[in-house]
């Protein structure tokens, strides 16, 4: 029975690994609101200087969070009020589908237009911040700028920020998301663990065969 449960768990992990995540802004989600295209062109790393922050997620050490109040812009948008236009410091237009304001102190790198609204409060709202932490600067971008939907407009900008490793901070997640996250974190240990498991399995099998 114990063997059956272990086999079932391994099979479930394999199935979850092969199943795409449905978590919004997950790098393992290939849907329009996922970040799978960004994950393909970027090198992800924990503690990177570039952070992609999803709505509801926060960076407590920098005192920055992404709100859950969706921004709409009835005037300056990409064909849909729910895809508000934003601009960087060089006034390059960027699409921000289903964006929410970033909350925190820092230099604003990207902001929505003056006719954007979150609730009934009018923008512009920051979608990217540069925050000093000790002797380093952390660049925080809202995940909506790099969803698979937004990449049709913002891919050139995404390639620029992917010159450095990025960290993707997502709030919550489905089992597939977490299986991918844990396996990614455990990748240095997967080879020795698999070796150890194989040895133990063969040893137990040989022992049973002898008796």
């Amino acid at each position: 029975m114990r063997g059956a449960i272990i086999a079932a768990l391994l099979l479930a992990v394999a199935v979850l690994y092969l199943t795409p995540s449905t978590t919004p802004y997950s790098p393992y989600n290939p849907g329009p609101n996922g970040l799978s295209e960004l994950a393909q062109i970027c090198r992800t790393s924990a503690n990177a200087d570039v952070v992609i922050l999803a709505p509801g997620a926060s960076l407590p050490n920098l005192n920055v969070s992404a709100s859950t109040a969706e921004i709409v812009d009835p005037l300056a948008n990409f064909g849909n009020p729910y895809i508000p236009a934003a601009a960087d410091v060089n006034r390059t237009a960027l699409a921000a589908p289903n964006a929410t304001p970033l909350i925190g102190n820092g230099e604003v790198l990207i902001a929505t237009g003056p006719t954007s609204f979150a609730g009934t409060a009018r923008g512009p709202y920051p979608l990217a911040l540069a925050v000093r932490e000790g002797n380093r600067t952390v660049y925080i971008y809202h995940a909506s700028l790099f969803t698979n939907l937004a990449m049709r407009w913002n891919s050139a900008y995404a390639e620029r920020i992917c010159a450095r490793p990025v960290e993707i901070a997502v709030a919550g997640g489905d089992p597939s998301h977490w299986v991918h996250e844990y396996l990614y974190a455990a990748r240095p240990w997967i080879a020795p663990a698999a070796l150890a498991t194989m040895f133990l399995y063969l040893a137990l099998k040989a022992r049973r065969g002898r008796v």
Binding site: M1, G3, A4, A7, A8, L9, L11, A12, V15, T23, P24, Y25, A54, P55, G56, T68, A69, E70, V72, P74, L75, A76, N77, F78, G79, N80, P81, A85, A87, R91, T92, A93, T100, G113, P114, T115, F117, A118, T120, R122, V170, A171, G172, G173, D174, P175, H177, P188, W189, A191, P192, A193, L195, A196, T197, F199, L200, A203, A206, R207
Partner: protein, 460 residues
């Protein structure tokens, strides 16, 4: 049964996984888009701000119209057919739908495709706007576009007029050396004719980054650009004289190579590095530059990172660039041993070896000890069978008592020690006596006796 258990367990795990839904936050959205559009239209200052935003970002005002929307007609006119660049032109027009004025409509006015102004129609469907002429072409298009807000019953429409623009052409010239040593100032000479005092924007771009400088030029100016902040490589210099009133913009470009000297660097590393231990690397750099070492992409702070995986890896020494020297790197192949990872595999091997080694005190060993204690040569088949039964009995009772049989004990001595662990002491005694008789008596046990002893052994 086992397969059914696997299937049930798998189904249970998948069901649990399916029940756990993503816990991502739900976004709260403003529902009344029409009210928001009304707020935007009713605030002239906000409209001007929005126009500036759209102009800077080169975006158009785009909103989808309803499929059943009523068609609209636009008329546009200006107070002049020709205007000087840098001046304002009054643009006005009407918006009607099936002959009836459309009031309160937002009109975007574009000059040569760039948003120039936003206006709103009055109760008679009339709009007025002042357009700053910032196009330097002989004939400029002025287009008024009606973009209905979400949920509007009207369809979009547009109308255009042409305006003759009067302006003065200007020329800009740029001079820069073909090559400059990295760290030395780059001297850029700018001249323009006719002389007009205005801002010139100079941009140095290498394709990935751009440095922008601004200066005011009348007829000639010299810019000394420090190159220490630039990356070595080929740059394109673009100078653009900004338009000023009737003076048209002008631009010029030139190429320059920022050349860096190559430092000498070499790296010696031991063939094997141990995770968590110091990394004894020898790096030679000429001239003296700051050097950073990496294992793969991970910086080495004198020690090999504890999380470095076991296996082949590349160690790199990177000399940081310092004008006039470019960055340089050397690399070496090493094999990293991570003691923690090796320990896991070693522990597995150890456990495997322990499990695979013949266990002391096993049935075979007891058989051997019982035969050795008999000290006789080959015995008849039935005598061997009696000794085998005794060995099995001693093995079973030895496992229970935790006392192994050894050849230095007589059969009776050992039987006395483990007798209390037998469920049927009489049976043990009977098997011992049969074995003794088999070994020491010339009369071999009968098949009947062997059979009875076998049944008896089952009761132990």
């Amino acid at each position: 049964m086992r397969r059914l258990a696997v299937a049930l367990a798998f189904a249970a795990v998948l069901a649990l996984a399916a029940l756990i839904k993503p816990t991502a936050p739900t976004l709260t959205t403003p529902v009344d888009l029409r009210a928001l559009a009304g707020m935007v239209k009713s605030d002239p200052a906000l409209l001007a701000e929005a126009a500036a935003f759209l102009n800077q970002t080169h975006l158009n005002v785009t909103l989808p119209a309803q499929p059943s929307a009523a068609p609209t007609e636009m008329a546009i006119g200006a107070n002049a057919t020709a205007a000087r660049a840098g001046s304002h032109v009054a643009v006005s027009g009407d918006l009607t739908s099936r002959g009836r004025p459309v009031a309160g409509a937002l009109i975007a006015i574009y000059l040569q495709g760039r948003l120039a102004a936003l206006a709103q129609t009055d109760a008679r469907g009339r709009f007025n706007a002042s357009v700053y002429i910032s196009a330097y072409v002989p004939l400029a298009n002025i287009t008024a576009v009606y973009v209905p807000p979400p949920g509007s019953p009207y369809a979009p429409s547009s109308a255009s007029i042409q305006l003759r623009v009067l302006f003065n052409a200007t020329e800009l010239a740029l001079s820069a050396p073909a090559t400059v040593r990295w760290g030395d100032p780059l001297r850029i000479e700018i001249s323009q004719s006719p002389p007009v005092e205005r801002q010139v924007v100079v941009a140095l771009s290498n394709g990935t980054s751009t440095v922008v400088l601004r200066t005011v030029v009348r007829d000639e100016a010299v810019l000394a650009v420090p190159t220490a902040g630039l990356s070595p490589g080929n740059y394109t210099i673009n100078a653009t004289a900004q338009p000023k009133g009737p003076w048209a913009p002008a631009s010029a470009s030139a190429q320059v190579a920022v050349a860096a000297a190559e430092p000498q660097i070499s790296l010696r590393a031991p063939p094997v590095l141990v995770a968590g231990a110091p990394a004894p690397l020898e790096v030679y750099v000429e001239p003296k530059l700051a050097v950073a070492t990496f294992l793969g992409e991970t910086p080495l702070g004198g020690y090999v990172p504890l999380e470095a995986p076991t296996g082949p890896a590349v160690v790199r020494a990177v000399a940081r660039a310092a004008p006039p020297y470019a960055s340089a790197q050397a690399s070496a192949q090493v094999f990293v041993v991570n003691p923690m990872q090796v320990a896991v595999a070693a522990a597995a091997l150890f456990v495997a070896a322990r499990r695979l080694r013949p266990r002391r005190g096993g049935l075979e060993e007891v058989r051997r000890e019982v035969a050795e204690a008999a000290g006789r040569g080959p015995l008849p088949e039935r005598a061997e069978a009696a000794l085998d039964l005794l060995a099995k009995a001693f093995h079973v009772l030895g496992e229970r008592a935790g006392v192994r049989y050894h050849r230095t004990m007589t059969y009776r001595e050992y039987a006395a020690r483990v007798e209390s662990y037998a469920r049927d002491g009489g049976c043990l005694k009977k098997i011992v006596e049969l074995a003794e008789r088999s070994v020491y008596s010339p009369h071999a046990p009968t098949p009947q006796e062997i059979s009875e002893a076998r049944i008896c052994a089952g009761r132990l």
